[in-house]
């Protein structure tokens, strides 16, 4: 890849980070955070985007960022206070900046109108701001000045450094070296200012140089050499007139004489050994020879460093590919370790044998390595959460509702792949909460609530999973309406007896939409069923709890990683299968008396006063024979992500273990009822069961008969 293209990618990646930082900071400021560092961070974010945009000559972006930054700088310096209307403008500007960045990334033009209004508003913010707005940093494409073919001229340069020149690590020798690169030089050193050794300050400045330079370069080239030291020396540069034209009063060019009185009459023929200039700075520090003045003491520096280094949390950036390669390798390691374990067991070695014990240690280590590697990929959910405030602002504007978004647990970490995939479901859940959950301000006030509705987004770790909640304090699910709609859509029978929970869960059914008219917010052809499917595809669960008049809470529970899974190893029809442990509620031996056949294929199990459909995995997966006689097999009570339960019949349970997930879809194709595959200790491939598909299919076929059996049983 072209290095510039690579840096460009980095720039846009960094822009995203800066934009997130910017928004988070602005939101903190809006919430009343007056910390100077918050304002600084916000300023830096915009400043940084501007700087990078300059490199890539993204003029529009640079101009807008500059206007934005100017206002932020005014807040930073206290010239402008962060009042609500200012914060609102800044937040909108952040949104616009985001659009500009995205457009630049895609090489699109952004209509001037997108930013023009904001620029005018910014101009109106500060008195006299309008003039300032126009001092926009133009992107200059600097062109190295082409050496001009000037006639050869002779210059006299007199340089009297001050001590401050050396204190800033500038060097006379280097200046002379640069001069010598311009042409032929003759250097004279005047040491007359040197004091006696006893009075000499090692850091003082006592010398004066006079350089005669013969060059074909112009005055600018000479001046440039002294660019950095202008204020730290007395400098005179003048041309030695060509004697031939002396009488013609050739104009004498005097260039720099900043700190020294300009000679009233330029020397026609300056004395080469100029007397020490009258304005020569007295040696700083007087006669002290001491080099270690208190402020220079190394201990100070070390103390400062010690103090700061304790707060340093060093980070490195690593290509994701490398991490993924490592995760793959660790996965292989886990499998190999399991194989080794099995071989040792097969060899009949005692558990107390040295080999077995070493192996146990290896197993623990492997597990630890695996956890550590997984932790590398873990990232805080902040990057996803940070996108939500903007979404909420936009939705609030579109719906005319007043919404306050509260976020908690942004620092909760989860695997990067999970983060990438929760963005869409989360976005939809928030849309849903605002569009369907929250009432209009009038309705809220009428119901005795505040006009402003609240949506709370929370992330936390719970029993090895990440749980994300989207809670609103709206009207809650309108159960009679949901039920009526589901009946109308033919999703449930008109006489179906449904619990409140079951009614609430109807909204996850495909083809369900409660909005009377499809709004352009939630009704984008995506229903909660799609949300549930995408969550389930990650091995996640989504559930809802709703209280009429008080609001709804959607709870998303996801595995921390998509790379490994705790599974139960089972055998059925001579096939080894893995059932995700999270889905298994309990295992039992069914009694023949508790099994009620519904027809020649389906049956249910009476379990603690209820009935659960029985699924013969071998049958569903078409393993050929109907192997299991229910009463001779092991029954696993499983629960799908949607909360539906079923009994899975298997021949035997072989154990539990962590397995490395290998995609079947990527290596072969999607297989019905199978979520993925893994490699077992003996090297054989085992399939990982997709519990949800199996349970939902069974429920559909069983549902119609369920009510009948249910009434018989009671």
């Amino acid at each position: 890849m072209d290095p510039m293209a690579e840096i460009r990618d980095v720039f846009f990646q960094e822009c995203e980070e800066q934009l997130a930082e910017l928004e988070a900071g602005l939101l903190r400021m809006e919430a009343g955070d007056k910390d100077a560092e918050t304002v600084n961070a916000v300023f830096r974010a915009v400043h940084s985007i501007k700087g990078g945009a300059g490199i890539f000559a993204l003029d529009g972006l640079v101009r807008f960022a500059h206007v934005f930054e100017t206002s932020l700088d005014q807040i930073r310096s206290g010239k402008l206070s962060a009042e609500p209307h200012v914060m609102a403008l800044l937040l909108r500007a952040a949104d616009a900046l985001m659009d500009l960045v995205r457009a630049a990334r895609n090489g699109e033009a952004v209509p001037e109108a997108r930013t023009q209004g904001l620029v005018v508003e910014f101009a109106g913010l500060a008195s006299g701001g309008a003039a300032e707005v126009r001092t926009v940093a133009r992107v200059q494409v600097p062109v190295a000045p082409a050496p001009q073919a000037e006639p050869r001229r002779t210059w006299i340069i007199r340089l009297t450094p001050k001590a401050s020149l050396y204190a800033k690590a500038n060097e006379t020798a280097l200046l002379l070296r640069e001069l010598s690169r311009l042409g032929e030089t003759e250097v004279d050193l005047d040491t007359s200012g040197l004091p006696d050794l006893a009075e000499l300050d090692p850091e003082g400045a006592y010398l004066c140089w006079t350089v005669t330079l013969e060059t074909d370069r112009d005055a600018g080239a000479i001046k440039e050499i002294f660019e950095f030291v202008e204020d730290d020396c007395d400098l005179e540069i003048f041309e030695r007139p060509n004697f031939n034209f002396f009488m013609e009063e050739a104009p004498v060019e005097e260039i720099v004489a900043d700190n020294s009185p300009a000679p009233a009459h330029p020397y026609a023929h300056p004395p080469v050994h100029a007397p020490v200039h009258a304005s020569l700075a007295p040696p700083p520090g007087g006669s002290e020879i001491e080099t270690n003045t208190p402020s220079l003491h190394p201990v100070d520096v070390m103390a400062a460093q010690a103090e700061t280094s304790s707060s340093v949390s060093a980070t490195i950036r690593v290509d994701l590919d490398r991490v993924d390669r490592m995760i793959d390798l660790v996965g292989e390691l886990v499998i190999t370790e399991a194989m080794l374990n099995q071989r040792v067991l097969e060899a009949g070695l005692a558990r107390t044998s040295a080999v077995a014990m070493a192996l146990e240690e290896l197993e623990a280590l492997t597990r630890e390595i695996q956890d550590s590697v997984m932790a590398i990929r873990a990232q805080p959910v902040r990057s996803v959460f940070q996108r939500m405030p903007r979404l909420v602002r936009e939705l609030a504007t579109q719906t005319g509702k007043q919404v306050r978004l509260l976020m908690e647990g942004e620092g909760t970490e989860v695997d990067k792949t999970v983060i990438e995939r929760i963005s869409d479901p989360l976005t939809h859940m928030i849309r849903n909460a605002i569009d369907h959950g929250l009432e209009s301000p009038e309705e809220r006030v009428a119901a005795g609530k505040t006009a402003e509705g609240a949506v709370r987004l929370t992330a936390l770790h719970r029993s090895g999973r990440i749980v994300i909640e989207v809670a609103d304090d709206g009207a809650g699910i309108n159960r009679p309406r949901v039920r009526a709609k589901a009946i109308e859509r033919g999703l449930v029978g008109a006489d179906a007896q449904l619990t409140d929970d079951e009614i609430d869960n109807l909204i996850f059914l495909p083809g369900f939409s409660t909005a009377a008219a499809i709004s352009d917010i939630s009704g984008r052809g995506v229903g909660m069923d799609v949300v549930r499917r995408s969550v389930q595809a990650m091995g996640g669960r989504i559930s809802i709890a709703s209280r009429p008049g008080q609001g709804s809470t959607f709870t998303l529970s996801l595995p921390l990683t998509l790379a490994v899974l705790d599974g139960m190893v089972v055998k059925t029809s001579d096939q080894t299968l893995i059932i995700p442990l999270g889905a298994v509620l309990e295992t039992l031996r069914p009694n023949a008396a508790d099994i009620y056949p519904l027809d020649n294929r389906n049956s249910v199990l009476a379990l603690r006063g209820g009935y659960v459909p029985i699924v013969d995995i071998a049958d569903v997966l078409e393993f050929g024979q109907r192997s299991t006689i229910p009463e001779q097999s092991v029954a696993l009570l499983v629960e799908s992500e949607g909360g539906s339960r079923a009994i899975l019949l298997v021949d035997e349970i072989q154990g539990q273990r962590q397995v490395v997930i290998k995609s079947i879809e990527a290596n072969y194709r999607a297989v019905y009822g199978i979520a993925a595959a893994t490699v077992m200790g003996d090297g054989r491939v085992a399939l990982i069961l997709d519990v949800d598909t199996i349970v939902s299919v069974t429920r559909e076929t069983v549902r119609t008969d369920f009510a009948r059996v249910s009434s018989q049983g009671s």
């Binding site: 830096r44 494409v141 600097p142 280097l174 640069e178 950095f228 400062a304 460093q305 700061t308």
Partner: protein, 121 residues
């Protein structure tokens, strides 16, 4: 021997850009993400020239330069500051803090290398 340059900038884009230009000029490049990080690098490395940004988290360019100038071992190390525009106020503040010189962003790679060579012993 190739000159070693330490770049101190919180923007990865800028760090990459600097590195790209400096490596092309045959320099050895060290990188730091802010002033604190820069001081940390200076504990073990002795670059010929340091190029630092001004606006950075934790320790900005001014503070970084001041710390370098307070360190007897490092005080004679040339430090160039990067300023986004020819901001006279920032320039003079940087000078007051002890900056050897400055480079105006967006920088021209030729001028950048030139400025570094100019201050490198």
């Amino acid at each position: 021997m190739a000159l070693t340059v330490l770049t101190v900038d919180d923007s990865r884009t800028m760090r990459d850009m600097l590195k790209h230009s400096l490596v092309a000029a045959g320099f050895r490049v060290l990188q730091a993400e802010d002033g604190i990080d820069g001081l940390e690098v200076l504990k073990t490395e002795t670059p010929d020239v340091v190029v630092t940004d001004i606006n950075m988290p934790r320790l900005d360019g001014f503070g970084f330069i001041e710390a370098v100038r307070r360190d007897v071992e490092r005080r004679s190390m040339p430090v160039l500051v990067l300023t986004t525009e020819a901001d006279a106020e920032k320039k003079s503040r940087a000078k007051a803090a002890g900056a050897t010189g400055w480079i105006v962003k967006p920088f021209d790679p030729v001028k950048l290398v030139d400025a570094i060579r100019r201050v490198a012993a």
